[in-house]
Symmetry: C2
């Protein structure tokens, strides 16, 4: 047998405690900033492990969190998996019935919960679904009055009697270490389990320049919530590098973020685009020294080129656009510039940076059409992105139905429709379920929406494919016009606008005016509702005309 020691998370903790004992972990709380060192962190993680063990938690048991970004949540990141249990981070923004489903599905035994989120959790507690839950632990030094959870204790009491050293077990690489559920718009959430090895590999993959480029001198502030795929793995990678952590706590405002960057010397932060738009606007109006900030990782949804440009021009900050999925632990691509691209005109650099980027070393991808053939890398042809690699899951937890549909061998079918340009940059053009398949060609509903929403008289717009006898599907646009808009003129202008920008056969067969685009629980456009309503046809003013045929090329 050829071999070495297992890939597990614990040596990252050990190294940070020994080599960077004085480096800090800073947390914003309701009471102000809390700070301690890796040396203290290491001791508290051991205490947590001891307390879990005393509470009967053992090999393979699931421990859930229902928390924002702070040091106690971070303590569960190493404490739970390193003692052999599995950390299940629950998204507190989910509707109650999803929370019930995933707690029951995961059979969580303990739930750690923030004081501010306790009411939400208490509202979701349902005796059947929470049957496996033996206790709640509130992330505070005392249990708030009328917390509505039982049995319940507070975190500091929970760990108080445990020693600050723990006899860590030697774990298998396959040991389940983490778990997240994807929150699809349809059906029940699907659980993704992370083994020790997957989290180890993801950590190592995000450290280098080809990943997120993290070194010991960095000060890293994850704004992306720690319940979103482990805050993109940053709590692990920051520790592995021996860098300083800054956790912004619940619901940080742009002012909170600007202050943390200035006061703690943040060099890198990460979150969804809206957060950074908010920060840009704040910085326009206020004096704040964010000169320590070198780069921002943007993911979750597409980063507008304007955000990338503004950070570069106004604040000398590089925006690194990244793409990932719960199934990828989550990072898959990062939009680094390639050698020589520094010399391109700024706008061309922003074009590249606004794409989802280059696949990380260690992963493989293919982009396939409906027949399973790979499409060429020319920046134009669409296909579904398939990915595989050491931090890409090969199955969902107890979901043979989804496994059948979403995997092909060890390839994950991501459900993202993308182009890849000649330089290898991936760009998402649509979700596979939303792309419109017309006459053998694919039409991006997303690109149509972006184009239509740029019209001054359009408040909201969404485009879906509707069944068509001859062409399989044809696009139909649903428009919420601004008040006072001339609907007939708008309709003609929108068709003209699309025909001008895209192949003529991309133009919607019908433009339907509605009062509001239906939304999902998380605020995204809910195309499923529209599709159902359209089948009902009550919403449609006209009927689908036999328009000019899509190209058969």
């Amino acid at each position: 047998m050829v071999g070495a020691t297992n890939q597990t998370l614990r040596p990252f903790l050990w190294r940070a405690g020994k080599l960077y004992p004085d480096r800090e972990i800073v947390s914003r709380t309701a009471e102000g900033l809390e700070r301690y060192t890796y040396a203290e962190y290491e001791g508290r993680v051991a205490q947590l492990a001891g307390a879990l063990s005393d509470a009967g938690i053992g090999d393979g048991d699931r421990v859930a969190t229902f928390c924002w970004n702070h040091n106690r949540h971070f303590e569960t990141y190493f404490g739970v998996p390193s003692m052999g249990a599995q950390l299940h981070t629950i998204n507190p923004l989910l509707p109650d019935h999803h929370i019930q489903y995933i707690v029951e599905n995961a059979a969580d035994r303990i739930v750690f919960v923030d004081p501010s989120l306790a009411p939400k959790l208490a509202g979701a507690v349902d005796e059947d679904a929470f049957d496996s839950v033996e206790q709640f632990v509130v992330m505070a030094s005392a249990v708030p009055d009328d917390v509505g959870l039982s049995p319940v204790t507070d975190y500091e009491s929970f760990i108080a009697d445990a020693p600050d050293e723990y006899d860590w077990p030697d774990l298998s690489e396959d040991q389940p270490a983490g778990m997240c559920y994807t929150s699809g718009t349809t059906g029940q959430p699907k659980g993704v389990e992370y083994s020790q090895q997957m989290l180890w590999a993801h950590t190592m993959a995000t450290l280098p320049e080809s990943g997120l480029d993290i070194g010991a001198e960095d000060v890293i502030m994850p704004v992306v919530p720690m319940f979103h795929v482990n805050a993109w793995g940053l709590p692990f990678s920051t520790t592995a590098a021996g860098a300083k952590h800054v956790y912004p706590g619940p619901s940080p405002t742009p002012e909170d973020l600007a202050k943390l960057i200035e006061e703690e010397g943040v060099t890198m932060t990460a979150g969804v685009p809206t957060v950074w738009l908010g920060l840009l606007d704040y910085l326009d109006e206020h004096d704040a020294d964010v000169s320590s900030l070198e780069r921002i990782i943007i993911g979750g949804s597409a980063a507008p080129k304007s955000v990338i440009r503004r950070f570069d021009e106004e604040h000398d900050v590089d925006v690194l656009h990244a793409w990932g999925m719960t199934e990828l632990s989550p990072v898959g691509t990062v939009a680094h510039l390639k050698p020589g691209m520094d010399d391109l005109p700024a706008e061309e650099q922003y074009e590249k940076r606004a794409k989802q980027g280059l696949l990380a070393p260690g992963l493989e991808m293919r982009v396939v059409d409906d027949d399973g053939n790979e499409v060429p890398w020319n920046g134009e042809e669409f296909g579904e992105l398939w990915v595989r690699g050491p931090w890409v899951t090969t199955e969902y937890f107890e979901r043979p139905d989804a496994n059948e549909e979403d995997f092909e061998g060890n390839w994950l079918k991501t459900g993202d429709v993308v182009t890849v340009d000649e330089d290898g940059y991936v760009q998402i053009v649509d979700r596979a379920k939303d792309v419109i398949k017309s006459g053998g060609e694919w039409i991006s509903s997303l690109e149509l929406e972006n184009s239509i929403m740029a019209h001054d008289d359009v408040a909201e717009a969404t485009v879906i494919g509707v069944p068509h006898e001859r062409w399989q599907e044809r696009p139909v646009a649903f428009i919420v016009p601004k008040s006072g808009a001339d609907r007939d003129a708008l309709k003609a202008e929108l068709v003209a606008l699309v025909e001008d920008e895209f192949p003529k056969w991309w133009a919607p067969d019908e433009v339907v005016f509605i009062d509001e685009v239906p939304k999902t629980a998380t605020g995204k456009f809910d195309k499923k509702v529209l599709r159902d309503q359209y089948d009902d046809s009550s919403l449609i003013e006209g009927k689908t005309p036999d328009t000019e045929a899509p190209s058969d090329e």
Copy 2:
């Protein structure tokens, strides 16, 4: 089961070919520089795999190389392991009987050999030892006359008929991928096998800043031979990053290196200290533009502080001192400065940089005394360095005797005696077999030698521990004086010099004058010979005096 796709080398090759198709691999040959791209490289690697398969090489078979640093050797790095075979890189500097032993032990089926090394190999071929070898492949486009190897073909003919695509197998992580033998001064060489997973983990560990800090824009020239633990993994990590490769070919002179740096824009290079001393001296005398060079990885033996200083002050090049072993694939520590150390006075920075450095993320270490207790990290107390982790082997190939001695559970006992300072920097003070154990304390033979060799009248010096009834061992120094030295005066001066620099009981009990220090095949001092001769006592002029007692503290 929780899992993802296996960790194997092939996706690194795939990614470089697809994302960096035009990036170059440059080789210095007898005929000048050869260059091609990753796209071509990928095709040639597939050809090699096909040719190996046609030659009957399959799952788990060993394929050996006997080569310097060039593109064809690099082709074997991905071609051999990715088709399921195991790459065994043989050190051509070994004595014939060691070559015979390891070829027989590894049961190599094909040996790739450089034209310039063919005579050496032909001289070592022995029918019994080479019984497993079915053919030799000369790394050239034709077989030289009178090559003395049979059956033999040339590399270009070997791969010519194979297609430039290969149906790569899905390999297990445990699949043996590489093999190197350690060349100890005593006993037979010990084989270390690298699994696909170990090489994957080592590659990922060396990419980040905490490792060797390799990015796509780098141009990397491994001067360390590719038969020395895979040139410290650089061919793999350079490919994973999509960086440019520069291979300096056989026996490059300082002038060759300076030219390659200048002409190819080398940003990083790596090798043993003597190479860089040679380059420094060359640069003192010649005009060469080495401004592209950002850093040099020095390993293999201790880098003198003066080399680090000269590169910094004269050429603005960072020297990164690294420590590794065949058993570690090989990188274990790198002497990066920690956050804040940039502000230290230059001399203090050089002090840190001259140490072996900080353990890489993912590994664990302990430093233990004779009783197995960990010694404190105070920069003074000695202990043997033990290491474990995902790229540290847990056994030698078919050597239960050595496994018993050199491992404790999954810990590798490195045989290096080190101190660790308060900042966590490891410094090697001796080899475990050379350290002198006197009165319960350890004396570093290496530090005594360095001190003694600084005396103007000393040409060579080595210190060994000799058995002593009361103190277990006592130091005895063997000196080759420069001609004309006053031996009696020198003896007294050396004892005074040691007593001045170290605890008084470190002073050698006896100073013995000899004509030459015995050397091993690779030019290192052979203390074993001295120990045997000292037992014989014929060399010793006096007898061991009952000197002042070592401290019992």
